[in-house]
Structure formats: C-alpha cells, structure tokens
C-alpha cells in the first residue's frame, strides 16, 4: 500500500515530464492531451482520500508553477485597467474537486468496472476546462464563449480520455507488482469464480 502510494506520487511527477512532449494540436482547435490531469484522475480512483488530496495538491501546485503568468506591469496611469491574472494555487482546488468526482464512483471501480472511471475521466477533464474558463471569465469579466473554445475543450477531453485505459493498465501493473489490490471486490469475485 505504502509502496503503491509512493509510486503514484512519482508517476504524477513523471507525468509533468511527459506533458512537455505533448504539444497543442493546431489542426484540432489547439486541443491537447492533458497527461498530468489524466494520470491524476486515474490514480485518484485507485487510492484513498488522503492520498488523493496529496496528489491533488502536488498536481495543482506544479501545474500552476508551469502555467501562471506574471502581471503586466507598466505605468498604472496608462494601463489603468490591467487584465487580472489567475492566482497561483487555484488549480489545487480544481484538482481536488476532480479527485472527489472520481472517488464518487470508486465503488464501481472496486468492482472491476474501470471503464466507468475511464469515461468519467473524460467528463472530469471537460468540467475542469469549463471551470477554468469560467474562473477566467469571472476574474476578467466580459463573458464570451466561442464555438472554437467549446470544440477545443471537447477535443481535449476526448483525446485525453482515449489514453485512460493505458494509464489504468499501468496502475494495475504497478499495483500487482507492489502486491496491492486496487479493486479488491473484483479480485474476490475472480477468486470465487476460479
């Protein structure tokens, strides 16, 4: 259990490295594979609440370190209405929210129905992007929602979700190597069957 938890933390850190190799797909409305979010979501459903929150903090903290923009600067007399930046740390709460969403269907996952979690990972990514967009709108004002933005969010969610079976396979393999069961009820069922 401890070994598995430690490896999921390392896996999340490794996902930040992988993310650097995944550029935006200009042909698909600048959508991208959000690998960090995907690894977090898949890991969140396989661990307990305290570990999920730890992962959410690590992911949110590092994601903001990667993405936060600085303030514009300049003479405030000229730039009297600066565009507000999002505060560093907001992603921690978003990751936490997504984690709780994933843990909501943990009972199904424990029964071996991982595909529900895979589907929910796509939905969570979409909600995560929508929440981010809404926060930006709330902070900066002037609500506008272009079709291209909706498509960008949809393609990003679907593209990312397509990789969730791969991440679940990795997590199952890691759990098996650590001698830890991440879906105990399904394992019991399998044992009874045989």
């Amino acid at each position: 259990m401890t070994r598995y938890t430690l490896i999921t933390v390392l896996l999340v850190l490794a996902s930040f490295v992988v993310q650097q190799f995944l550029p935006a797909l200009t042909g698909l409305h600048h959508s991208r594979i959000l690998f960090v979010q995907l690894v977090f979501l898949c890991a969140a459903v396989t661990v307990g609440q305290p570990t999920m929150l730890l992962l959410a903090f690590v992911c949110g903290f590092l994601w903001d370190a990667q993405c936060t923009l600085g303030t514009h600067g300049g003479d405030p007399e000229i730039y009297s209405q600066p565009v507000e930046s999002l505060r560093f740390g907001y992603s921690i709460l978003l990751f936490g929210g997504m984690g709780f969403l994933m843990q909501g269907i943990q009972p199904l996952f424990k029964q071996g129905k991982w595909y529900f979690s895979a589907l929910l990972s796509g939905i969570s990514i979409f909600l995560y992007l929508a929440a981010e967009y809404l926060i930006i709108t709330f902070v900066r004002g002037n609500f506008s929602f272009a079709t291209a933005t909706a498509l960008q969010m949809a393609y990003t969610s679907v593209l990312t979700m397509l990789f969730s079976p791969l991440i679940f396979w990795m997590l199952f393999t890691i759990a098996s190597l650590c001698g830890h069961s991440i879906n105990p009820e399904a394992a019991k069922k399998r044992r009874r069957h045989f």
Binding site: P23, H72, Y79, I92, E132
Partner: protein
C-alpha cells in the same frame, strides 16, 4: 467521516490557502525552481516539437535551403528593424536639429531568437524562445518580428524565455492610430485560437473617425513598449455609449512565427 480523512481535508485546504496567498515574487521563485528542475526535459520536449515541425517543412524544402533561408530571414528581419529605427532616428534628428539644434545619442540593440515552443499552456497565448538570462533577457521586454510587435517577455529562464503574444488578452499595449488623434489600449481577445485572431483597440473617443486599413502603432507611453512599432491595421470600428472600440488585424502572422527579436535596450520609453 473518518478522522484521517477530515485531517487530510483540513491539511489540503490549508495548503491551498497557503499557495493562494503567495506574493508574486514568491510565485516567481517557485516557478524559477520548477523550470530549472524540469529544464532538461523542456529542452528535449521543445527539440522534439521543433524536429516534428521541421520534418513537416522538409516536405517542401531541403534542409540546407531551410537553414540558409532561416539565416537570411533572421538577418533581413534584423536589418529591417535597424533600418526602420534609423529612419525614425533620422526624422527625429532632423526635427530636433530644426527645433533645438540638439543631437540625441541613441542606441538600439536586439537579440535574435527562435521560437522553440508554441502555446505550451491551454488558455494563454504564449510561445517560448531560445534566449534567456544568459543573453541579458529580462521581464517585460518587447519582442518584435520584422512585421511588427510580437509580444512581451513574461518569464525569462537561463536559456529560454516565455513570451506573451500580442493576441493574448493579458498583453495590453498603449496604441495610436496613424493620421488620427485617437489613442487607446490594444489587446488580444479571449479564446481566439483559430485563423487570424483580431485584436481589440479600446478606449477610443466616442466619435472616433477611423477607416479600415489605417495602421496602428505603439505610442511609447506606459513604460514598456517603445514608440512607433507597427501593431496592425484597423478592420472595423464599433461605437459605444461612452467610447468606441476598433477591431485590429495584427501585422504579425502569429501562425508562422520563426525568428523574433527581443529589444534589449533602446531609448527609454516615455512614462
């Protein structure tokens, strides 16, 4: 609820509040540490992206031609900027001689850079270039191409820097319209990733008389951008109750950014 879960939630919330209340300086330090830790992977990542891009380009051009073209383009862009600057200096010098018989010493120094990553984040319109602290790059330096203003340096690292593009909402520029008394603040618009993004020139006078095709330049006011850098051309004007706004087509083709120039030193911008 289990006590352990409750403690975990409390710790999580405390951590989130701690992060949310960090000052900008602390955030910059955190970012510097993060990017220095991840630097080798960033380099490999951008190399992969650049390789993929050049592989696609290779369908049309041989590698030798491409390298020659990049060098020539880079040199041509630099010379164009220098030439335009000299023209401006000539004009300024003539004006000053005429008015005050005064000669002003100026210097103009740019660092050429290549765009190595495009849009590394989901919502912000940014690129990364291959020069950083080592070449004297600091925050809030103007970035130009031979077509006009590209953006502003946001976060310099050792050998790379992040540039907020003019098409991003957060990049505001004090702008003036040629042959017109109109001045305003130009910035990008949210969520414009497709095609040619249009910029919005705000805070124009209520009865602004502008026509399509008029060029927009930096005013040089505000302490960031130097004056007379081309920003774009007017597309249309929207009259409001209190002021007018204009849509501006950027002078720079942001979809095809290759070589850019960071203005290291110039005449100090007007406050």
């Amino acid at each position: 609820m289990k006590p352990l879960n409750l403690i975990a939630i409390l710790l999580f919330l405390s951590g989130a509040v701690w992060a949310l209340t960090r000052s900008e300086r602390t955030v910059r330090e955190i970012q510097a540490s993060y990017f220095s830790a991840i630097a080798p992977f960033l380099k490999s990542g951008s190399d992969t992206e650049a390789y993929a891009r050049s592989f696609l380009d290779e369908v049309r051009h041989s590698k030798v031609l491409e390298a020659e073209l990049a060098t020539v383009n880079s040199e041509m862009g630099r010379l164009r900027i220098v030439e335009s600057r000299y023209r401006e200096l000539e004009r300024e010098n003539a004006q000053l001689r005429h008015a005050l018989d005064f000669k002003k010493a100026t210097s103009f120094n740019v660092a050429a850079a290549q765009v190595i990553r495009r849009q590394p984040t989901t919502w912000w319109q940014t690129v990364e270039i291959d020069v950083g602290d080592e070449r004297g790059i600091g925050t809030q330096l103007a970035v130009l191409s031979n077509e006009g203003l590209v953006g502003i340096i946001d976060r310099p690292a050792k050998d790379r820097s992040s540039v907020i593009l003019l098409t991003d909402e957060a990049c505001q520029v004090s702008a003036k319209v040629e042959d017109s008394p109109e001045v305003g603040i130009l910035s990008g618009q949210r969520g414009q990733f497709e095609g040619t993004p249009l910029l919005r020139l705000k805070f124009l006078s209520k009865n602004a008389v502008l026509r399509s095709g008029q060029r927009v330049f930096t005013t040089g006011r505000g302490g960031i951008f130097q004056p007379n850098i081309l920003l774009g051309t007017i597309v249309s004007v929207e009259k409001g109750a209190e002021d007018s706004e204009a849509l501006v087509r950027p002078a720079v083709n942001f979809a095809d950014l290759g070589t850019v120039f960071v203005v290291l030193s110039q005449d100090p911008p007007k406050k």
